[in-house]
């Protein structure tokens, strides 16, 4: 049943221009990051690590959360348009699997974005002429970034399912990004999804989370994903479909 829903979601993504957003935003972040790195080589001496600090700053603190918000809003706009909620909510599948299918699709999309970002980062570094080996922490940053991105994705999906407007949830997402940055700075980074992205991707501190924090990181993300999803599914089941 879930498989049916996911495969229906994939068909809906055909012919969409979402891939332009998915490719251009990481590209812009890496370009700005690389340019910043190249112009400030006097201070940024730590090769790949310094490049990461620049590139991931623009990506993790700004462009990636926006990208997640846009993807989520797009997946929901498909249903808000043309009264499509009427159609999918009368399909003989559970309401839960309809939402989980969207979460699954956005997770895969975000994984692709992370992969693309990885390629751009390596390519950018090589173009600049970095000689050293890639940092061993890199897979961890990317993976934890993806986990936190999924949590943000679920939060954004929840907003977009509720709010018919495309721009409003993206705007809220942008505000939450700044809020997340504030909370990270105040050392409350592990209790807010957007700060979890900052922490997980090693944006502001590359020291790694340590065992305890790392455990808390995964628990918090999982909690956000599960609790928000459950809330959305409950709401979808118990309220009228407005179309």
């Amino acid at each position: 049943m879930l498989q049916q829903c996911i495969s229906a979601e994939w068909i809906k993504l055909r012919r969409s221009y979402l891939w332009i957003v998915m490719m251009s935003l990481p590209l812009v972040s890496v370009c700005i990051g690389c340019a910043n790195f190249a112009m400030n080589q006097g201070v940024l001496k730590n090769e790949w690590y310094s490049l990461w600090s620049q590139v991931s700053l623009f990506y993790g603190e700004f462009f990636f959360p926006i990208l997640i918000a846009i993807c989520s809003a797009y997946l929901c706009r498909l249903e808000h348009a043309n009264r499509n909620w009427n159609m999918i909510m009368t399909a003989p599948v559970s309401v839960g699997s309809l939402f989980i299918a969207k979460v699954a699709v956005i997770s895969v999309l975000l994984l692709l974005v992370q992969g693309f970002f990885f390629i751009l980062y390596v390519a950018g570094g090589m173009l600049i002429g970095l000689q050293a080996d890639l940092p061993p922490e890199l897979p961890g940053w990317l993976f934890r970034g993806w986990i936190a991105a999924v949590a943000i994705g679920v939060l954004q999906l929840a907003l977009s399912v509720r709010i018919r407007s495309f721009a409003a949830p993206v705007g809220i997402g942008l505000c939450m990004t700044f809020l997340g940055l504030g909370m990270y700075v105040m050392n409350l980074g592990l209790i807010f999804p957007h700060s979890l992205l900052t922490a997980g991707m090693g944006v502001l501190s590359q020291e790694g989370l340590g065992l305890g924090s790392s455990f808390l990181f995964y628990v918090m993300n999982l909690l956000y994903i599960v609790v928000i999803s459950a809330g959305v599914m409950y709401r979808m089941r118990s309220t009228d479909v407005v179309s």
Partner: protein, 303 residues
């Protein structure tokens, strides 16, 4: 007969206003049930409650003899529906839209081909829906509703947006479905003429309340004929008829006699002629369903 849909005191209240008030809908197997009412009467809300899209504030829905709440998936498996305007993904082609429903309903490819053929969209199936005309979108919506060839098909204003030829075609298609596929059809409309030409049973709803429910014949039986008599001299004719115990209604330039037998008509005619009042016309006037409908729903509300 087997009841496919039955509701008991089904109600939906928004604030203090009942959008649907204690409706007892009953649709039997093989019926084409016409659900008739002016705009905003509560038709769509009722249909949405049958599909679980809207939660009733009171009453129960039973479909295929099972409670909707507890058997949602089984029931939806056997219903195809088109509610309000047609649903579709505009950036996809007609065929891709069908594929989305095909995945969700897990039906074989041949259903897709057949449903598209039935609504005559097979030539346009590779065109983006954004380029479809309103009528084509409507036909696609019906094809999507029919995709699983369900036991019950719920169509909300199915001929909306179709041109006259398209309406005729759709009417023939809908009428053929019960025999061809054993479907039961529940369709709503605000146009009596449409329901009259398709439906075998009728429900008339107004301001959320069911005013009439029964077979089409039962509704037509309400159109009792009256006799209209036109004479040279109205006033004298009325006086004469009154002395015979008839009190006709004056309608424009003629007199209208209700509940009158043939022999009484003959007698009245004879009396009028004998009294030297020339009878110009005697004719039977059947009330159209339109006027019955207007009587039921009140004339103040236009259709």
């Amino acid at each position: 007969m087997n009841q496919i849909v039955s509701t008991r005191n089904l109600s939906k209240r928004y604030g203090n206003v009942f959008s649907v008030n204690e409706v007892n809908l009953s649709v039997c197997e093989g019926d084409i049930y016409g659900f008739l009412g002016p705009n905003g009467a509560g038709k769509t809300t009722t249909l949405k409650m049958l599909l679980g899209l809207v939660r009733p504030t009171g009453g129960k829905v039973k479909i295929f003899g099972k409670e909707l709440e507890a058997n949602r998936r089984y029931i939806l498996q056997n219903i195809g529906s088109l509610i309000e305007s047609p649903s579709n993904y505009e950036h996809l082609t007609g065929l891709e839209n069908m594929r989305v429903v095909q995945r969700l309903r897990d039906v074989p490819d041949k259903n897709v081909t057949e449903a598209l053929k039935m609504v005559r969209l097979e030539k346009q199936k590779d065109k983006k829906v954004a380029q479809y005309s309103l009528g084509m979108k409507q036909r696609l919506g019906i094809a999507m509703a029919m995709l699983s060839f369900p036991k019950l098909l719920i169509l909300d204003e199915p001929t909306n947006g179709l041109d006259p030829a398209g309406i005729g075609e759709m009417r023939e298609l809908i009428k053929s479905l019960p025999q061809r596929y054993g479907m039961t059809i529940l369709l709503s409309s605000h146009l009596l003429s449409e329901i009259e030409q398709m439906a075998t049973s009728v429900g008339i709803i107004h301001n959320g309340t069911m005013l009439f429910q029964g077979s089409m014949e039962k509704l037509q039986a309400r159109s009792r004929p009256a006799i209209r008599i036109k004479t040279q001299d109205h006033a004298m004719a009325r006086e004469l008829l009154a002395s015979r115990g008839f009190f006709p209604k004056v309608q424009e330039d003629s007199l209208l006699l209700e509940n009158i037998t043939d022999s009484q008509v003959a007698q009245v005619n004879r009396d009028l002629v004998a009294a030297d009042i020339d009878v110009l016309r005697i004719e039977e006037q059947t009330r159209s369903l339109e006027s019955i409908f207007l009587d039921l729903t009140g004339k103040g509300n236009s259709l």
